[in-house]
Amino acid sequence: MSEVFTGVADLVGQVTDLPPEDISAEARFDALANWTSYDALRLLTGIEQHFAVRLDLQEYFAIKDVGGLVTAIAAAQGKP
């Protein structure tokens, strides 16, 4: 499991109150309990602070699952 994935799972758990261990790369955001656009924005803020990255908002909202978010963060980290 990558460091990015662990960090993302922790933050998703923080926002949704789900145990981070239960969050898999395949987990779809729209299938998470009580997932709202407000949760998505809180997650974005947490992610951007924790990983010191800035994501494109349209790309962020197009991401379907946790694995996709991990890939997007890794890509953003790779940018100079």
């Binding site: 923080q14 109150d17 407000y38 809180r42 908002l57």
Partner: protein
């Protein structure tokens, strides 16, 4: 991960069968990560207030011209930390005008005690404008409307209203290309902010928070353009956190929770250095760094005194030396008349603070205690949780900011009697005597896991020991410390023993804090001198080291442990030690302690680690 554990604790408190967790609010102070604070605030909304301690209820409404989703959870955390259990009503996006004008609005039905009005620049800025005059006219028009709305609302509802100054987005400012055009724009904007502040002086029930001024100190952008366009969020979470903290300070002031007493340590708090060791002329105070940082601290303390905060001293020192400094040091700002009560002695500080509260006849929950020492701040925090403790660690230039940050002394207005309060309390304090006992300090010391490491002085530790001997004036047994040459001779000799000792506890290690010079005689060992830094007084460290020496002497066949003592006028703290450890005085300058049966000197809360010299190539 600390954050994870804290959030889990709060989630647990939201469960139906949860039991009280009064330590949670204090532990929340360790949380500084804004996204985590938002989650903590969201979860705390589901926790019954009675599980968190004795809190004051308050009904707060939040309305505004934009979406400030994180303000409510951040405000909840900030209020709880100040001992306030809020019920928070949050209005939907841009409901401000409806909320304030409609007597049947959901906000009006909530009947708030305090209504927070959150404003952003675009609510005042016209959507299209051609010149500075058109801009100014439009902004004034919006302000007049807001002022009327607030005036009518406060009269109708009786709710206090908090307005704030509004920062102008740089996008608006840079939209004007001419420098003189920007100047005109900036001036109009400052007039708006000046008018907003003026509302507080003009309208009863209206108060103002100068947000623009607080943001000067915040390393954050005003807004994230993406989230402004996407979700109408005009503030970044960091700005929301600044607003929430200051609004919470206002709520505390509104409820009259302002602290009344500031208890200050002296050494390394009001001046640099240790006056007992460095002497009145050796302390750092004056026009140059770091003395000027301590002087700034004194200036700010006196400024608080002039606004009604009662100042008290709590310091481990000789009262006569402190008197001399307070009365005669030319660079001091704070003077005896500024101070209502003093506890300058060698008693534990929690005991002294209780004594000050009794003397001043004020509740401990109205006390703020500021000290540079981790030991003292943790002692007071653990022993008297009601007291607000400010740990002044790090650079002395940052101490004032640390003291001001929590808004502990914030009030809505000050009056003429505030300025005379010190006189009043000073008289009250002079009538009362210290009394009481202290048993809790032992429990505290036990919890510290104090470890005393004793070793024979070697090439590395000897210079530090000699320096300690020269610099220590308070815990020393003689006026003239052993010079380096003699110390080296003794350390190399089989008939002598030169020990150094270090102290560590759960908060960290202090390094070498003292040493002992011992000569071995046929039937007795003699402690020629014993020095210790006053940083570690009253923790049983000196007793532990003496126990170690007694044990070694007894094992070597000595029948008595003797100790020399010469009063110097400044070593009163040391004078009490040998009698306290069980020694009896045989002559003016000599104490003795029989080693059969083996005496018990060391306390049960310290742990001794002894390193005896390995008998290598002798």
């Amino acid at each position: 991960m600390e954050t994870k554990e804290l959030l889990a604790r709060i989630r647990g408190l939201g469960q139906p069968d949860a039991t009280a967790d009064p330590a949670l609010l204090r532990d929340l102070g360790t949380l500084t990560d804004v996204p985590a604070l938002v989650e903590a605030g969201r979860l705390l909304a589901k926790v019954p207030a009675e599980l968190l301690g004795k809190l004051k209820p308050l009904r707060v409404a939040v309305t505004g011209t934009f979406t400030a989703a994180a303000v409510a959870p951040l405000l909840r955390v900030a209020l709880l930390r100040k001992g306030i259990a809020p019920e928070i009503h949050v209005s939907g996006f841009d409901q401000l005008a409806t909320d304030l004008s409609d007597p049947d609005s959901p906000l009006a039905s909530f009947a708030p005690q305090i209504t927070l009005c959150l404003l952003h620049d675009d609510w005042f800025v016209p959507s299209a404008w051609d010149d500075a005059e058109a801009f100014s006219t439009a902004v004034r028009g919006r302000y007049a409307m807001f002022d009327n709305l607030v005036g009518a609302f406060t009269e109708r509802s009786g709710s206090a209203v908090l307005v704030h100054t509004v920062p102008l987005s740089p996008v608006e400012m840079r939209g004007v290309v001419a420098f003189d055009g920007r100047a005109a724009l900036g001036r109009t904007w400052r007039e708006l902010n000046s008018d907003l502040l003026g509302m507080a002086l003009r309208r009863p029930g209206v108060h103002a928070l100068d947000l623009e001024a607080y943001l000067v100190d915040t390393p954050a952008r005003l807004r994230d353009e993406r989230l402004y366009r996407f979700a109408s969020s005009a503030w970044t979470p960091e700005v929301e956190a600044v607003y929430a903290a200051e609004a919470a300070n206002f709520c505390g002031a509104f409820l009259g929770l302002a602290k009344k007493v500031l208890v200050l340590d002296l050494d390394n708090t009001l001046w640099g250095g240790v006056v007992g060791d460095d002497g009145p002329s050796g302390i750092q105070i004056g026009p140059l760094y770091p003395g000027n940082a301590f002087r700034e601290m004194q200036r700010r303390a006196v400024q608080l005194r002039k606004q009604g905060v009662v100042l008290a001293l709590c310091s481990k020192n000789e009262a006569t030396i402190v008197d001399e400094v307070l009365n005669h040091h030319p660079d001091l700002v704070i003077r005896p008349d500024d101070i209502a009560a003093r506890a300058v002695n060698w008693d534990p500080k929690d005991h002294n603070i209780r004594g000050l509260a009794a003397q001043l006849n004020l509740g401990l929950d109205s006390f703020v205690f500021a000290d540079d020492s981790t030991f003292e701040t943790q002692l007071v925090r653990g022993s008297i949780p009601e007291v607000t403790v400010v740990h002044l660690d790090g650079d002395p230039a940052d101490h004032v900011t640390a003291l001001q940050r929590n808004g502990s002394f914030d009030v809505l207005t000050t009056t003429a009697t505030d300025r005379d309060r010190t006189k009043l309390y000073k008289a009250r304090a002079e009538r009362t005597e210290f009394a009481g006992s202290f048993s809790s300090v032992r429990d505290y010391l036990r919890s510290l896991e104090i470890q005393v490491s004793v070793r024979e002085a070697d090439e590395f530790s000897l210079p530090r020991l000699v320096q300690l001997g020269q610099r220590t004036n308070q815990f020393t047994m003689t006026g003239a410390s052993h010079p380096e040459s003699r110390t080296r001779e003794m350390a190399a000799s089989d008939d002598h023993l030169v020990l150094v000792f270090e102290v560590a506890d759960r908060f960290g290690a202090e390094g070498i804090v003292g040493g002992v010079w011992v000569s071995k005689h046929e039937d007795h060992w003699l402690i020629e001198n014993f020095v210790m830094s006053c940083r570690v007084f009253t923790r049983g460290v000196e007793h532990t080291v003496t126990q170690h020496i007694a044990d070694r002497a007894a094992e070597a066949g000595a029948l008595r442990l003797e100790a020399d003592f010469t009063a110097t006028g400044r070593n009163k703290a040391a004078a009490a030690f040998y009698p306290d450890a069980g020694f009896t005085r045989v002559t003016e300058n000599r104490f003795t302690l029989p080693l059969v049966p083996r005496p018990q000197i060391g306390p049960d809360w310290t742990n001794l680690v002894a390193f005896e010299r390995e008998s290598a190539d002798v």
